[in-house]
Amino acid sequence: MSDDRERRKAERAERREKERASTTNDRREEESNQEENKLVGEIDELKITFNMTIDKLAKDIKRQDKIMSRADKRQRKEYDELQDRLVEVTALQESQKKLMDSFIELIAGAIDAKSKYTGGHCIRVPELSMMLVKEASNSDEEPFKEFKLESEDELRELNIASLLHDCGKVTTPEYIVDKATKLETIYNRIHEVRTRFEVIHRDLTIEALEKKLAGEDVSTVDAWLEVEHKKLVEEYEILAIANVGGEYMKDESKEKIREIASRTWVRNFDDTLGLAHEEKQRVLLEKSETPAVEQLLSDKKRHIIEREYFDYEEYERFGFKTKVPENLYDLGELTNICISAGTLTYEDRFKIQEHVVMSIKMLEQLPFPENLKNVPLYAGSHHETLIGTGYPRQLSAEDMSIPARVMAIADVFEALTASDRPYKEPKTLSASVKILSFMAKDKHLDPDLFKLFLSSGIYKEYAKDRLKPEQIDEVDISQYL
């Protein structure tokens, strides 16, 4: 009996269990179906998004491709254009450089052509400075070991400076540049003509007197006249020699000149006639009634030409130190004939020196590019020394770069050896080197560059090119090295 119960119980339990299991299964199945549907939905959605993304990506890639290939094409085109432009610009630059160089040479040639005093100076100085600066750059010896020209531009800079160093001379009056004798000036020949009238005037008087005095002792008069004439001729010779300014004039000579100058003559003609306004104003500064007793030579107010305008402030701003004379010119006859050395007065000398002032002012006005910015400096220091005695800035050694020192030597050597100047006999090579050596000893020129100039043989090379055969003699350079 209990076995039966037990079995039924077990059967019920099993049935229940089965039932439970079957409901759970149904539910599970249902749930699983639902999930499946949801998943499919999501997958579909994902698929759509995915496709859209892929589409967008594909489109983007296509776009990106297009953008890049277009950009490459554009870049290549721009590159080609740039290359073409570069070629054009380079050619233009080259032709402009040529034009500029020709202009510079034209100016240098014009300065040379303007005055026979300078001859071929501006064209020849660059030859010398180029030779010497290259030598200094190549030298491995002190003090040039550190000095190296880095580029063509640096060479060009000094070449241009050398060509233009005297460009200020275009502003120097020719009669000062070419003033070959002490009494030389721009001259109104009315004075000469008037003097001849004076002579004829006297001759007429003398003739009348001679007729009147017909009865006097002839030999006594002749002897006297001979002495007087001889004295006059001698005095004229002294004056004439002094006028050339060949040698230094001592104080005794000046005294003698003053004595000669004190001779008098009587002027019967009005010396204010035939003059232009400016000169007339000056002549009227002195009384002019006739007859007047005049000195043979004199310093008069009319001989002073006043400085009308001078910008001292600008002069200082540029760093120019050379003293400016109060007057522009002094044409005084005595003053000029008594010039101690050379033919130039204090005022004339300043006018001559002013050419560097003008060179500097002119060159500093030019917009030189960065690689040529030293042109005004090099050109402007060709008359400076190493000890502050030069002009116009009175520079010293520390202000003088090697190219500037090179220019100074080239300038002097060309001037010394030139054979195309009418006012002087050409010097021999040895005499020129000797003068150069004095200047180097006095630190007016750089002693090391002077030695390099000799030891390198540049002096000889230049002489062969530019000096006359009769100027070239043997130079014993060992005494200078």
């Binding site: 776009r63 990106q64 953008i67 890049m68 277009r70 950009a71 554009r74 085109k77 721009e78």
Partner: protein, 125 residues
Amino acid sequence: MENLNFEATKYTPEIKLDATSGIISLVGKSYPENTFEFYKPMMEWLENYFEENAQDVTTVNMEIIYFNSSSSKLFFDFFDLLDEAKDDNTIKINWIYDEENESAEEAGEDFVEDFEDLDIELVTK
């Protein structure tokens, strides 16, 4: 809505966004250092404009002479934005270029090809 103006620089175009007249213009070169940063204010302004401030007719005048690749990428985005806005707005686009400027012409043709539904006109100067 405020108008937005950018002056041209060496590397960026002049940009004039005028909400009152509905005229949008870009003129010049486009080589910004950071293109997306540079055009961000313009893009934001445009979104804002089309959302609620658009005029009946919006005219876009583009005269871009030279441009880098990130700029052309940005211009595609710009046209995408216009493409989205075109259903609710009337948009007229003028792509202006110099006859000699082949690159600008080609870029214009690319935009026409990619955005068939936009009213883009290529205008030579």
